[in-house]
């Protein structure tokens, strides 16, 4: 479970990213984080994987208390998480397979585990036949699938995605959401910040709306709720 208690984030320039947010996310949930640009979605997500710390309040993630982590625990925390970005952050000089394998190599996975696991994940995201391609040889949607495969390959409990479909056309975006839904069905908890109104409205998942850094709405089977 992820729990945010009175979390505020004030940046060095005096701007607030989020203000006094309280939120509980349970295992197995699929949550859309919606809100206009600059509302504070990315700020909230960066605190979940402890890229940043709250200036006040506390975040708990399973047994981790995020403001109290020592450096070695930060890497343990991150192994529980799979993070996906709008700009996928693939390594441009490595193949699809190598990009995904990289995430296992650097946490010390064994060679034969890597050889077994990476093809499974590539199969799941539908890229089994693209394993030897370089990122620039792939479409935007395929690149994002590689990003998702990389996030999944270490079997994270939570998958955290910041506008993963932001660069994609609606149809491709929908494929990505179906993929995340499948991953959720297999047990991972999904937190996804998004602008994609159609998708949110169609999925009938929990929707947490953020405006000016504050949570203004939290509905179990919600809708996007904004006009674009």
């Amino acid at each position: 479970m992820i729990r945010l208690e009175n979390v505020s984030k004030r940046y060095g320039n005096g701007h607030y990213g989020v203000i006094d947010v309280n939120l509980e996310i349970h295992r197995g949930e699929f949550i859309f984080l919606v809100g206009p640009s600059g509302a504070g979605k990315s700020s909230l997500i960066r605190m979940l994987y402890r890229e940043e710390l709250p200036t006040s309040g506390e975040i708990y993630l399973d047994e981790f208390r995020l403001s109290q982590l020592r450096r070695t625990q930060v890497s343990r925390l991150r192994r529980q998480l799979g993070v996906v970005f709008q700009d996928v952050k693939l390594l441009t000089n490595r193949t699809v397979f190598q990009n995904v394998a990289f995430a296992m190599e650097v946490v010390g996975a064994k060679g034969h585990d890597i050889q077994k696991r990476v093809p499974q994940v590539l199969e799941l995201v539908g890229l089994a036949r693209r394993r030897n391609n370089l990122p620039h040889q792939l479409s935007g949607g395929e690149q994002q699938r590689v990003g998702i495969a990389r996030a999944l390959v270490n079997n994270p409990v939570y998958v955290i995605a910041d506008e993963p479909t932001g660069n994609l056309d609606p149809e491709t975006a929908f494929d990505i959401i179906k993929l995340l839904n499948e991953i959720n069905r297999r047990g991972a908890t999904i937190v996804m910040a998004t602008h994609a109104k159609e998708i949110v409205n169609q999925m009938h998942k929990r929707v947490v709306a953020v405006e000016n850094g504050r949570v203004v709405r939290d509905e179990a089977r919600g809708a996007y709720g904004y006009e674009p």
Partner: protein, 295 residues
């Protein structure tokens, strides 16, 4: 850390080195130059020390006894002087032995030698060996005060100047080495900085998926160490070839000159340069990582 990780880190280190090949070459060259200069001073000081010991083991001081002094008085003085502090060894020689050794030392000076052989004007005396060449002047004065002594001759000035010079050379060597070391450090730090920059995306992904700090740092630390060791190795190759050649040249041109033995010199330069290379590479990677790699 398992074998895969070791292999992975080695691979990434190699990738860093090849990716920035020009900086790699620049670093290796500066390490090599720096270690070459270090070796140069080492070779010099080892040789000076060697020369000093060789000279020291030769006769350091000759004490000549007045011609009218009876043999038993000479022997008494010999026994006394043997107990004086600073005296390592003392040997008596007769004027006949002195003339013989002169003949051996200067076989070509026929006129002088005929003169010596006929009239034998030299004195009986002592060869005195000291524990420390610095003590020679004081001992010379002490002998001079003895009534039986005619005069004292010594080459100790050469030796003590030589040992003072080698101390100075050591300090000059270390000062030059310090400056070169700093320059080398600077170059390696920049090489690693470029590697960190080239790998910023990898580093970001590694952090994101939960690689440990040291897993991220190791390839860069290894890179620094490899640059240091390889540079030192290059310097050692040049120095060992060079010194080998020098010994050959010296035996041809200056056969009486005592060169320090090859093995002794190489043992010293290898130790110093390899440790020097490791230290400069290691320190450089620590500096570079503290400044440029935010994990």
């Amino acid at each position: 850390m398992n074998l895969n990780s070791v292999w992975y880190i080695a691979k990434e280190t190699g990738r860093n080195l090849v990716y920035n090949i020009w900086m790699t070459l620049a670093s290796v060259s500066t390490v090599a130059i720096s270690m070459f200069v270090l070796s140069f001073f080492l070779v010099l000081t080892v040789n000076m020390t060697h020369l000093t010991t060789v000279l020291q083991s030769q006769v350091e001081m000759r004490v000549f006894i007045n011609a009218n002094v009876p043999r038993h008085s000479e022997m008494t003085l010999l026994k006394q002087a043997d107990q004086w502090p600073g005296v390592r060894k003392i040997q008596f020689f007769t004027k006949q032995q002195a003339a013989d050794s002169l003949k051996k030392e200067f076989p070509d000076q026929r006129d002088l030698l005929t003169l010596i052989s006929k009239s034998n004007p030299l004195f009986d005396g002592f060869n005195v060996y000291t524990k420390n060449p610095n003590e020679i002047p004081a001992l010379a004065v002490r002998f001079q005060h003895e009534k039986a002594v005619h005069n004292v001759v010594y080459e100790g000035q050469v030796v003590s100047r030589l040992s003072r010079l080698s101390v100075i050379m050591k300090w000059v060597g270390w000062a030059v080495e310090l400056l070169l070391g700093l320059a080398t450090l600077f170059i390696i730090v920049n090489t690693i900085r470029l590697a960190v920059f080239a790998r910023r995306r990898e580093v970001a992904v590694m952090k994101l998926v939960g690689a440990t700090d040291w897993f991220i740092r190791w390839p860069f630390v290894l890179e620094g160490l490899v640059l240091g060791i390889v540079g030192a190795g290059v310097a050692d190759l040049v120095v060992s070839q060079g010194y080998h050649w020098l010994i050959m040249a010296a035996t041809g041109a200056l056969p009486f000159w005592p060169m320090a033995p090859y093995a002794q010199v190489m043992a010293k330069t290898w130790d110093f340069t390899l440790i020097g290379g490791l230290v400069v590479g290691g320190v450089a990677s620590i500096v570079a990582l503290r400044r440029f790699l935010k994990v």
